[in-house]
């Protein structure tokens, strides 16, 4: 195609963006602008806001609780993004390359459904059930440890500040594995099985097929899942709210829980708006960096 036809061609795709952008402006764009406006005021949710310029942001810059909650969030990213993506990738490859091919698609589907199910359970209920399981006196986890003779490891998982965050991370991994798994498995449906055949005929082991066939083929999905779970980790709220409410003693506090407290518990809406604006900007910056990296890695169509 010539350069001009290509350019004309590309413009012709613009109308497809119209519904998306129009809805976006109304539902997200305008409210975000309003949110930024509110962050420049003192307001408790009712009546007229009082102009405060950058007072909220100045207060936020010096707010130790806010910035220390980011430290916790880094570990949350590991638990909600990196680990589930890695595990999900391996499981997806196992289910597709091994179980599906050797035992048929039915077992693979059943296993996938079981592994995805934690995503379906409402976070509130998951939190309550896990707190039962992790109860230091009557909980199943300590009971099982006792039954196999590992009594010494029995612990107050959620109550001890040293273990609380790690315990919450394990629960998060439990919740999150299903998401990457399903996305990767759907992506692997696109892979031509003859590629696996050829590799196997060449004598490649499962691990080598994984690295040289599976991973490159679903690279778009991997990028998407990583970014998405990282964003979710930066916004995480539900599990913290239910399991520990940011405790014990602030050991599991995260930025979005802090923002939520300001919006609703304190009705310090101006400050809450400032927090969420800053949080959004951080996430956007991360997103742009990530998208750039993804673009660079993507092979251009010939």
């Amino acid at each position: 195609m010539t350069a001009t036809t290509w350019r004309r061609d590309r413009l012709g795709y613009l109308p497809y963006l119209v519904p998306g952008l129009a809805l976006f402006t109304g539902v997200i764009g305008v409210p975000f602008a309003m949110n930024v406006a509110v962050s420049l005021t003192e307001w408790d949710g009712v009546g007229t806001p009082a102009w405060a310029a950058l007072a909220n942001y100045r207060e936020l810059a010096g707010d130790g609780e806010f910035w220390s909650s980011f430290r916790n969030n880094v570990l949350v990213i590991v638990a909600m993004a990196i680990v589930p993506t890695g595990i999900g990738l391996v499981l997806a490859a196992l289910l597709t390359d091994l179980v599906d091919r050797h035992f048929g698609p039915r077992p693979a589907s059943v296993l996938r459904a079981c592994l995805y199910l934690p995503q379906v359970l409402p976070v509130v209920i998951a939190g309550v059930v896990w707190s039962w399981l992790l109860d230091p006196d009557d909980g199943a986890v300590n009971a099982v440890l006792g039954a196999v003779g590992l009594d010494a490891l029995a612990h107050d998982w959620l109550g001890d500040p040293a273990t609380a965050l790690w315990t919450v991370m394990v629960v998060m991994v439990w919740v999150q594995i299903g998401f990457p798994l399903v996305v990767f498995m759907s992506g692997l449906q696109r892979v031509d099985p003859s590629l696996y055949e050829a590799a196997e005929i060449d004598g490649a082991s499962w691990a080598r097929r994984f690295r040289h066939v599976t991973v490159p083929q679903i690279r778009p999905e991997i990028f998407v899942v990583l970014l998405w779970t990282t964003i979710a980790a930066l916004k995480v709220f539900g599990p913290i709210y239910v399991l520990t409410k940011g405790g014990p003693g602030g050991a599991t506090n995260v930025p979005s829980y802090y923002s939520y407290q300001n919006f609703f518990d304190k009705t310090d809406v101006g400050y809450g708006a400032a927090i969420s604006t800053v949080l959004t900007l951080i996430i956007v910056a991360l997103t742009v960096v990530f998208l750039r990296a993804q673009n660079a890695a993507e092979p251009e169509p010939s």
Binding site: H102, I125, E221, L227, T277
Partner: protein, 300 residues
């Protein structure tokens, strides 16, 4: 489509060995294959333990729960928690509301994502990375920051306390993920397929629906499932937008049980069970579409 790929599709759908693909009959299953299968089944069982706990508690009487604790099996099976909750919140109506909202969002958000991703991934318009970053804002914004502005806007247009407002909001929010995933997938879409169709004289619209969509159908099914499940479990926005009890969704109705100081454990478990089942059913239905579908091998 060649015979070979047709056979491949049949193989994927039904586990029937394809000609020239498996050399007649299932592969030899070595001991390592069995070992992996056992490990995976064990993992799946562990994942399901909390569900078993919910089920146990949903069929207990409150006295049983108080006497024996949450992790003991029920002394006798009783459905009073389930029926009690159903009547207390008018669960039939609540289910309908959730199904209506989640179902609509699932379909509409997928549609919106397809349209967006087509322009971004295949159309490759200029500045597509920035457009994508902007659209992603829909999901990166913490929901608390949207609540007050959307409350005011919805009051202005008279949509406060309607399910339509919730549908619109979530369609936009969920389509962010759909746009991102699909534009990444479509970015790697095999060009020869598109060229072939264009040479045949198909316009952009026809190429979208007759060439692109059939190939990415598994991904669309995945998106539909995700959107349904995510919207079903959404709490904050339905809480704020849906005031009258006629409009409540399942997640909000669950909140009725969470008193300020007391929580009714057996009824909460019963409620979760009731709220779970539709999403599980939805997922199982769509499982079949996830496994079936044309592979990109159709090119050859």
């Amino acid at each position: 489509m060649t015979e070979r790929s047709a056979g491949t599709i049949a193989a994927r759908a039904g586990g029937v060995p394809a000609l020239g693909r498996r050399g007649g009959g299932k592969r030899r299953r070595g001991p390592s294959a069995y070992a992996t299968l056992v490990a995976l089944v064990a993992l799946a069982a562990v994942m399901l333990i909390p569900f078993a706990v919910v089920l146990l508690n949903a069929v207990k009487t409150p006295e049983d729960y108080s006497a024996n604790g949450p992790l003991a099996p029920p002394e006798r099976v009783s459905f009073e928690a389930i029926t009690g909750f159903w009547e207390r919140v008018g669960f039939g109506q609540v289910l309908l509301n959730s199904a209506l909202i989640s179902g609509s969002v699932a379909v509409l958000a997928v549609l919106l994502s397809v349209l967006n991703a087509y322009a971004l991934g295949i159309g490759r318009i200029k500045g597509r990375m920035w457009v994508l970053a902007v659209l992603l804002l829909a999901n990166t914004l913490p929901q608390e920051s949207l609540v007050y502005p959307l409350y005011y806007l919805s009051k202005q247009v008279g949509l406060y306390d309607t399910r339509l407002s919730v549908i619109i909001v979530f369609t936009v929010i969920q389509s962010a993920f759909g746009t991102y995933l699909l534009s990444s997938v479509l970015g790697a879409f095999p060009r020869p397929l598109l060229e072939a169709a264009r040479i045949d004289g198909a316009g952009r619209w026809r190429v979208l629906w007759q060439v692109v969509v059939p190939v990415i159908r598994p991904t669309l099914a995945v998106l539909a499932v995700f959107f349904f499940v995510w919207t079903w479990n959404e709490f904050l926005i339905p809480l704020v937008f849906l005031v009258g009890n006629d409009n409540q969704t399942v997640s909000v109705a669950l909140g009725v049980l969470q008193g300020q100081r007391l929580m009714d454990a057996t009824m909460s478990s019963a409620a979760s069970l009731l709220g779970l089942l539709p999403t599980v059913v939805f997922f199982l239905i769509f499982q079949r579409t996830l496994s079936r579908g044309l592979t990109a091998g159709a090119v050859k």
